[in-house]
Subunit: 642 residues, 2 copies
């Protein structure tokens, strides 16, 4: 019965008309059970008779919902568990991000629609170049960075922007992941309202959508929740954290079984996540650390090196930077576990792009450019060609790098242990967990474990101190799940990298699959024979076929948003079972994007994982979801016991 | 005791010195059991005493081995089963391909070494351009086509060449697969003798290896079995098929349980394979058919089309070609099943390469090229960019194409049924099996099945005739194996595409993994800490570490050559079990490259598959391997029964 338009009269009603109140309570209860959601009930009492005018699923803001739920517990109308079940975790987003003022978007022109990849509303001038975004943001301009797709080269521009809009990519494309991580509103894979390509001309600095040309500097507003893109500046309102919200979150924490960690690569993220209630870092990526100015140049020299000792020379120059990064993060997370993942991406991600080099060289040659520069660029191109991969996703990356070039693993691990020892000496309590990415076999894990342990011994001897640490792996390759019993011999923890695991289990590249996933999720309205949009009568206007029932969608959920319960979850189940058969106390978590998705968290609870890890901004959602998962399991158990 | 240097004296010995003969037989038997191979025994009999001089594993040519085995069965010394176990299937290669004259290579300079990807010896002039290869081969020159890597554009050059050499790629790279298919000797991923890159300068038409510059036209000799590349013309000898070989193969056929089909895309391949004893086609790829002149232009227009009806227009132009292809292949395989796989590769494979377009356009612009041509090329580039994928392996291909563009599936299926009906009317017995590639879910299979059945009905109505057919799918995505019970609802057969299944299960791109697979297979000789080559005493000359035992190789087998028994085979087991739980008479085969690999065939026998399918030239090897697998299973059973 919560959610009636104005909650106040209810308590008055209880006092003044207890019979009507009792009747109404019963009706509300029945309706809520039936609709599995709160109800708005319009009623009137005339001459002692209760008249229902209409009922509908209750619409209220997240803030109101939390307040009502907490009030009702305080009034002993519902239990804490019931309160938790009344808040949809996705509503928590509304409490943490700015949103458009209610209904304000109605007055603006909708120009495009994509996938809402990172929640919140953002308003700003469009800019097509990361450097320009940085430049304007320094002048306090609000910027929306608009790109075909983003790459690690764009990070500084993404950080400078208020929001991000891309024409390509899906729920776990680079733009989406980074945006969620930074809590920036983001829309990816956007198309025009008439479902045509949104053309982003990065050279002429303009965006063409349904024939409208938007030049750099044009204001747009994006909704990272719904994926909508509007022309103009829509007024927004900031989130307001209430006392009730704090109470509600405490209840969630007392009920949940799953730990909640965060994915954080920087001290700032770590700090933010700790404030949001993270109980450790589940994934600290180390590759982003190499993209900073002053580092990327050394990294590139390391990659261009032609032998081990040359590579070692440049790695030695990178070591102090890495050590510094780790020291800070371990310090902020003092006493809490920090899972540091060794270098994961293929090396060519750190070099200039192949096509750009080709274009530059051809241009230089035809315009009589400096032959020395041409030669330099050609050398880089040669190395880029050498490193070029048809499918970098499935190429030389992750632990494969650390096995082919053990000196890379050695440098990173040394930096971790040197930082941890220093911190220990400085009086803190660092808890590093070293995570080897992309393990597919027992032998790889054994190889890397040996290396890590050797370096640990060395550093501990040098620093005359010892810190506790764990060595573990991502489970992100199907084979790793299938061979989990063997891998667990050398791993003290597993962390499911469900992004990659989904990519390989489904054979979907997350950067490319946007194209057909959108089609797959809308096939229920299309004729199976010719692909034409069906009429309401389920008849095809083109080939005349009639369907008895609506065809099913090929995909019911986007497997990059919610764990695929048939395939990916089955591999996870196998991995948990096999892994724990070898090592009873194997710690198992998840650090893919799914770690912040409510339905996926439910699957993690069922599978008996120890913790989930997600972007800082998703930590509160994960805490609520983990609590709901426990309550749901209980409810199902009750049903089952009956 | 077979394999003594000169088998003749044995029978004499039996007559003249029966005691010595009996003694020798026992010794030989023990040795053979111990070494699990035939033994060369040198002995002398002096004054009635038998003296063993030395024994070693018997070395003999494949021809001699088959002759001996058949002779010994005829002399009732061994059983047919024992004869089959004496011939290593890989030796069969020697009987089907030319080889270097014995020991001849000793007099030539070894310049490079790679992966022996397709057996046989080839000698010819090096050529770097497929068109040039065709040109010279028309003048009866023997050509070795040398490329960084090959692509479908190179097919005509590969066909014109006697052998193929590439600097990149692994066992299932494009070059390797096509070469095996055509029975052309091929070496891929070749490096210099000192393990340095082999630089192929396709523009300046030269090959640089360890500082030696080989210009176009230089003679080299390659051994597609060992992966060795020599400078100069090594004399070769042709294979000689003997009567004993025919007898031996008949015995194999009488013993094996697995069917043996072939992978064949052309009438020529189909014909060849039938001669080699193929019992049907397990994989007829349809994409190669679109690369021929006169077809590729239409295909490209179809891809450039901006709407369905335009696409349909060009597909209608392709239909007669496809129909013709299918008619011929079905005719040649009259009465035998022909599994036709619908279009599999991503569409951009049919368009010019992105980098080439960029280079051309930049060049045209700077040299004042025709603006009309520039515009045309830019339009193509735009479409190429639209279709561009970061990981095409995991992108819009396979059944995803047929779902996004049902008109493509419709055209192909119509061509199959029109051809089959025509052939039926012409008095033959076509047995088409339509195979949908890259299925990952029940819903995809259901979608494509509906489409195929609708077209079948249409064509049968039009042609007033009906042919029997089956609809099935590849199992090549891990998820398909995990959801096999659901997929089998709509599939009458499964065919394991173990190339792709291995790629996704391991997370190895077959075109890129060569780089680290080579390292992975030689880690046993390297220091785990620093990667330096260990001394014979298992000591690292660089960091001084001493190893108690030789480190293991990360990879013991190349999973693209032999099925990975822990991961990939486990998924296959799950698929067989789940698939047959839904459909008891589900026909299950394998059509990946593993279908021709002896050890993999043993796994297929264990898993209870119905047939294997492999390149035409591998059909005899598969027949022998399938027979050996049965005998081995029996032997193990005997051991077990004890």
């Amino acid at each position: 019965m919560a959610g009636v338009r104005d909650p106040l009269p209810i308590t008055e009603l209880q006092k003044t008309l207890p019979n009507a109140y009792a009747k109404l309570s019963k009706i509300a209860e029945k309706l809520e059970k039936h609709y599995k959601d709160m109800q708005d009930i319009e009623f009137t009492i005339e001459k002692g008779n209760l008249y229902l005018l209409q009922t509908r699923v209750g619409k209220r803001t997240a803030k109101a919902a939390v307040k009502m739920a907490v009030d009702m517990v305080n009034e002993k109308l519902i239990t804490k568990e019931e309160a938790i079940m009344r808040i949809d975790p996705s509503e928590i987003n509304q409490l943490l991000h700015p949103v458009f003022k209610r209904g304000a978007e109605k007055n603006f022109k909708l120009i495009a629609r994509g996938l809402g990849a990172s929640p919140g509303a953002a308003v700003g001038k469009i800019v097509f170049d990361p450097a320009r975004a940085v430049e304007l943001s320094l002048k306090n301009e609000k910027i929306i960075l608009v790109r075909k797709e983003t790459s690690p080269d764009d990070i500084h521009g993404m950080e400078a922007a208020t929001g991000i809009l891309t024409a390509k990519g899906g729920a776990t494309s680079h733009a989406a992941v980074v945006a969620r991580h930074r809590g920036k509103p983001c829309v990816v894979g956007a198309k025009s309202v008439s479902n045509k390509e949104m053309v982003i001309d990065e050279i002429r600095k303009r965006l063409v959508v349904d024939g409208n040309v938007l030049e750099e500097g044009t204001f747009i507003s994006i909704n990272g929740e719904t994926g909508e893109v509007y022309l103009g500046e829509i007024p927004t309102e900031s989130p307001a954290i209430t006392n009730e919200f704090g109470t509600f979150m405490k209840w969630c924490d007392s009920i949940r079984r799953l730990g909640v960690r965060t994915n954080a690569d920087t001290p700032e993220d770590a700090e933010k996540a700790r404030k949001f209630g993270a109980e450790g870092i589940g994934l600290c990526r180390t590759e982003h650390m190499f993209f900073q100015e002053g580092r990327i140049e050394i990294m590139q020299k390391m990659i261009m090196a032609s032998n081990t000792s040359e590579r070692e020379k440049y790695l030695a120059q990178l070591l102090p930077f890495q050590k510094e990064d780790f020291y800070e993060i371990l310090r902020i997370m003092d006493g809490l576990p920090v899972t540091i993942r060794l270098l994961d991406p293929p090396l060519h991600e750190f070099l200039p792009k192949r096509e750009e080099l080709i274009r530059e060289i051809t241009e230089l040659k035809h315009t009589g450019g400096d032959s020395k520069i041409v030669k330099e660029k050609e050398e880089i191109l040669n190395r880029v060609e050498e490193l070029y991969e048809f499918n970098p996703m499935l190429g030389l990356r992750g632990c494969r790098l650390g096995i082919v070039y053990p000196e890379i693993t050695r440098m990173q691990v040394r930096a971790i242990f040197e930082a941890a020892c220093q911190l220990y000496i400085d009086g803190a309590n660092p808890v590093p967990e070293i995570m080897v990415p992309l393990i597919g076999s027992e032998e790889e894990m054994k190889h890397q474990r040996f290396l890590i342990e050797e370096v640990a011994k060395e550093v501990f001897r040098e620093k005359k101190c010892k810190v506790k640490f764990k060595i573990g792996t991502m489970i992100e390759i199907p084979r790793a799940a299938l061979a989990a019993d063997k891998i667990a011999k050398y791993a003290e923890f597993f962390s499911f990298g469900t992004n990659d695991l989904t990519q390989m289990t489904y054979g979907y590249s997350r950067d490319d699959a946007g194209k057909f996933i959108q089609v797959y999720m809308t096939t229920s309205t299309k004729c199976r024979y010719c692909g034409t949009e069906l009429t309401k009568e389920l008849k095809c206007p083109h080939c005349g076929r009639e369907y008895e029932e609506k065809p099913e969608n090929i995909l019911k959920i986007d497997p990059f948003q919610t764990i695929d319960s048939n395939g990916v979850a089955e591999l996870m189940r196998i991995a948990v079972e096999k892994g724990r058969s070898t090592r009873k106390d194997l710690k198992i978590g998840i650090c893919g994007e799914h770690g912040g998705d409510p339905e996926s968290i439910e699957i993690c609870e069922k599978l008996g994982l120890d913790y989930v890890s997600c972007s800082p901004f998703r930590v509160p959602i994960a805490r609520v979801s983990a609590a709901r998962a426990v309550v749901k399991k209980k409810l199902k158990k009750v049903e089952f016991d009956k």
